[in-house]
C-alpha cells in the first residue's frame, strides 16, 4: 500500500491537472478543520489558560506569535525545497508551489514581527530591541520580499519560478547562517537574553493551547497554499482543454 501512495503522490506532484482535482477534493473538508483547530487553540489560550505569574496576561500573545514565527520559518524551508525540485528536476508543480507558498509566509513573518513588538512593550518596555529572534525574523521577511519581488518582475512564468527557486535555495542556507550570526552578536552585547519564547519553560496548561493553535495555523497555511496553487495552475494551463472545460462547466465541489 505504501508504494501505491508514493506513486500517487509523485503522479500528483507531476501533473497540474491531477493536482487540481485532488485539491478540489481536499479543500472542502480541510478548510473547516483548519479554522476550527486554530480557533479552539486561540480561545483556549486566550480565555482558559492560566495567567503568567510574572507577565500577567500579556504572554497570551504567544498563542499567535509562536505559530506565526514557526509558520514563516517552515514556509521558507518549503520554498527552498520547492526551489530545489523546480531548478533540478524542472517539475511544473514545484514552480507553481514557489508562487503559492511565498505570500502567506511573508504575512506570517509580518505577523510574527508585529506580535513580537506588541509583546515586547509590556514586557521590556520597548517595541523593538534587535534581539536575536526578532532580527532573524526581520531578515526572513526581507528574503520573502526578495523571492516575491523577483517572481513578479520576470515576465516568463517558468523562468520567474526557476529564478525564485534558486534564490530560495540560497536563502535557506542564509536563514541558518543568519540565525547563528545574529545570536553571536547578542552574546557579545548583553549575554544571552532571557529565553522568553522557549516552550520548555512554559507550563503544560499553556503548552496544549499553543500546540493546537500552531497546528491550526499550519493547516490554514496549507489551505492558503492549495488555493493559490489552484489559481496558478488554472492560469498556467489555460490553453489546455481541461481548463477550458472547467471554465464553462464548474465541478460540483466548486465555490
Amino acid at each position: 500500500m505504501v508504494w501505491q501512495t508514493i506513486k500517487r503522490w509523485y503522479h500528483m506532484l507531476g501533473s497540474p491537472r491531477y493536482f487540481y482535482t485532488f485539491s478540489s477534493l481536499v479543500l472542502p473538508w480541510l478548510t473547516p478543520i483548519a479554522l476550527v483547530t486554530l480557533l479552539t487553540g486561540l480561545v483556549w489560550g486566550l480565555g482558559f489558560a492560566p495567567s503568567d505569574y510574572q507577565q500577567g496576561n500579556s504572554y497570551r500573545i504567544i498563542f499567535i506569535h509562536v505559530p506565526a514565527s514557526s509558520g514563516a520559518l517552515m514556509g521558507y524551508m518549503a520554498l527552498g525545497v520547492a526551489g530545489l525540485v523546480a531548478v533540478v528536476w524542472r517539475m511544473k508543480m514545484a514552480e507553481v508551489m514557489l508562487k503559492a507558498i511565498a505570500p502567506f509566509g511573508a504575512a506570517l513573518a509580518a505577523i510574527s514581527l508585529v506580535t513580537g513588538a506588541l509583546w515586547g512593550k509590556p514586557t521590556w518596555g520597548t517595541y523593538w530591541q534587535w534581539d536575536a529572534r526578532m532580527t532573524s525574523m526581520l531578515i526572513l521577511l526581507f528574503m520573502y520580499v526578495g523571492v516575491i519581488a523577483l517572481q513578479n518582475v520576470i515576465r516568463d512564468p517558468r523562468q520567474a519560478a526557476r529564478a525564485a527557486g534558486l534564490l530560495a535555495m540560497v536563502g535557506v542556507i542564509n536563514v541558518i547562517i543568519v540565525k547563528y550570526s545574529v545570536e553571536w552578536v547578542q552574546t557579545l552585547h548583553q549575554g544571552s537574553t532571557l529565553k522568553l519564547f522557549g516552550e520548555s519553560t512554559i507550563n503544560p496548561a499553556m503548552k496544549y493551547p499553543l500546540l493546537i493553535s500552531m497546528l491550526g495555523l499550519w493547516l490554514l497555511y496549507a489551505v492558503n497554499v492549495l488555493m493559490r496553487a489552484r489559481t496558478e495552475v488554472m492560469w498556467r494551463e489555460r490553453r489546455s482543454k481541461w481548463v477550458a472545460k472547467l471554465v464553462t462547466r464548474p465541478e460540483k465541489g466548486e465555490r
Binding site: R90, D156, Q159
Partner: protein, 205 residues
C-alpha cells in the same frame, strides 16, 4: 544519406511564449552536409528555435536530440548579437571565443579572410556594425565544426561579403558540416527551407 549522418532529430517540438504558440508539432531530421534555411516573419520564433537547438532556451515540449552527447564541442553558434566586447580588439575577441569553444585555427588568417586585415588590434568600439559582425563570422574560416547554427549571419554584411559567405557555407557543407541559419537570403540551390508562420512550422523543400 544513411542514418549514420543524422546530426539532429526534432520530435513534435512545441514552444510557447507570451501566451502565443510559436510552433507546434515540429519534427525533422537534419543530416551532415545539409544546409537548412529558417524563414519567417519577425517574432515568428526563428531566434527562439535556434536558442532551443543550442540549449540556451529550455522551456519547450517535444524532443531535441543531437547525434552525440558532447555535441557542444562540435557546435559553432553565432547568436543574434555578434558576441564582441567593444573594449577588446578583434584579435582578442576571437582568441577568447576560440579558447572558450575549443576551436583551433589561425585567428589572423580568419580575420584576413573576412577582410579585417589591418584592423586586428583596433578596439572593436571603433569598428562599424558590419565589421563587428565580421569578427564573429571570422570563426567560420577557422577549424571546422560538425554543426553551424547561425542567427541572421547576413545582417550588416555588404554585397561581396554575402557572396564570400555563401561560398564558405557551401564549402563547409560539402565537407560534411550541417549548417542551420536564419535569413531571408538563400545561400544557393539544394538548401532545405523551414518556414515558421502562425504557430506552425513546415519543411518546404
Amino acid at each position: 544519406m544513411s542514418d549514420a549522418d543524422t546530426r539532429l532529430t526534432l520530435e513534435q517540438l512545441h514552444c510557447e511564449r507570451d501566451d502565443r504558440v510559436l510552433f507546434r508539432g515540429l519534427s525533422l531530421t537534419a543530416r551532415a552536409g545539409e544546409i537548412w534555411q529558417i524563414t519567417g516573419a519577425n517574432g515568428a520564433g526563428k531566434t527562439t528555435l535556434l536558442r532551443i537547438l543550442v540549449g540556451l532556451h529550455g522551456f519547450y515540449d517535444g524532443g531535441r536530440h543531437w547525434w552525440q552527447p558532447d555535441w557542444q564541442r562540435e557546435l559553432l553558434y553565432l547568436g543574434h548579437q555578434p558576441g564582441v566586447r567593444e573594449e577588446l580588439s578583434p584579435l582578442e575577441n576571437l582568441d577568447y571565443a576560440c579558447a572558450l569553444n575549443a576551436q583551433g585555427g589561425d585567428a589572423m588568417a580568419g580575420l584576413k579572410a573576412v577582410g579585417l586585415q589591418g584592423f586586428e588590434d583596433v578596439p572593436a568600439a571603433h569598428l562599424s556594425a558590419g565589421q563587428k559582425r565580421r569578427i564573429a563570422l571570422a570563426r567560420l574560416w577557422l577549424a571546422p565544426k560538425a554543426v553551424w547554427v547561425l542567427d541572421e549571419p547576413y545582417t550588416a554584411i555588404d554585397q561581396d561579403g554575402v557572396a564570400q559567405l555563401d561560398a564558405r557555407i557551401q564549402q563547409a557543407a560539402e565537407a560534411g558540416t550541417l549548417v542551420i541559419y536564419t535569413s531571408h537570403h538563400q545561400v544557393g540551390e539544394g538548401v532545405r527551407r523551414l518556414h515558421l508562420a502562425k504557430g506552425r512550422a513546415e519543411v518546404l523543400s
